[in-house]
């Protein structure tokens, strides 16, 4: 993706909002969203010469989002096993954020692959 700052901003703000929404629900998710938000936030810092710095922060924060969703889905799966259907209350926020994360992650991965292709082409020229 081209405009990395906007993506980072979206991730950090969205995760902060979801963190607040989760405060009364589940402390683990509060920690998760806080971590995601901080990860995205550090993406803004420029104290380095690493060219993939911003991409790295985008990818890891979205990966964390995906992991958190996987955790939630596992939980649902396991309570299916113990057959407490009525007790299942999926955490919508985690799932919404997880889906957004997947989209962002794939987009960013494709972008990096494109750069790689270009670099290869340049090299072979």
């Amino acid at each position: 993706m081209k405009n990395k700052n906007i993506i980072l901003l979206i991730i950090s703000i969205l995760s902060l909002i979801f963190m607040i929404l989760n405060i009364s629900i589940n402390f683990f998710y509060v920690f998760a969203f806080l971590l995601i938000s901080i990860t995205a936030f550090y993406g803004f810092s420029g104290e380095n010469e690493v060219w993939y710095h911003k991409s790295a922060h985008i990818m890891v924060s979205s990966l964390l989002g995906i992991f958190t969703m996987a955790y939630e889905l596992l939980g649902i799966l396991f309570s299916l096993i113990s057959s407490e259907l009525s007790n299942i209350k999926p955490n919508i926020y985690v799932i919404i954020f997880g889906i957004i994360s997947i989209v962002i992650f794939i987009e960013e991965l494709n972008y990096l692959k494109k750069i790689e292709q270009e670099a290869k082409r340049k090299k072979s020229l």
Partner: protein, 153 residues
């Protein structure tokens, strides 16, 4: 310019020139890939600034400052904060800090790629000239602005 490994900037690359350690440690480092003449990059900094991780080829190796400061590399330029730099012309490499701080600096004309001239020091303040205007920058701020020296014409 030859500097010790500890003066590299995160992500900056240099060429290994010499390893001034005990023969034994030196041999071990060489066998681990710290071969003079090879390119080396500062890859990670730990939470307390010590140790550091360096990347040589595809290898990443952890070194403490006490060893790293005795290994010397050749770099095209050294990156320092505005606060530590010598007087003269410098090119801004990066401005660190919050969005607000960056915005403020941009308004002064301090942003990546720009040339600033350090005119002098006044206590903890650094006097600089950007785009013909002069400013005095406090220590805390100057330490968040990184630049490299530009050769004088």
């Amino acid at each position: 310019m030859i500097i010790p490994l500890t003066d590299l900037f995160l992500g900056q690359k240099g060429k290994i020139i010499s390893i001034d350690l005990k023969e034994e440690d030196k041999n071990r480092l060489i066998a681990m890939g710290f071969i003079p003449g090879k390119e080396i990059e500062l890859a990670h900094i730990s939470p307390f600034g010590d140790p550091l991780v360096f990347k040589v080829g595809d290898k990443k190796i952890v070194l403490r400052l006490s060893e790293a400061e005795n290994i010397f590399v050749e770099v095209e330029y050294k990156i320092e904060s505005l606060f530590e730099s010598d007087l003269g012309k410098h090119q801004i490499i990066s401005v660190c800090g919050g969005h607000h701080f960056k915005e403020e600096m941009r308004n002064l004309g301090i942003r990546e790629g720009k040339i600033v001239t350090i005119l002098g020091r006044n206590g903890h303040k650094t006097l600089i000239e950007v785009e013909g205007k002069k400013y005095a920058i406090g220590k805390g701020r100057a330490q968040k602005i990184f630049c490299k020296k530009v050769a004088q014409e």
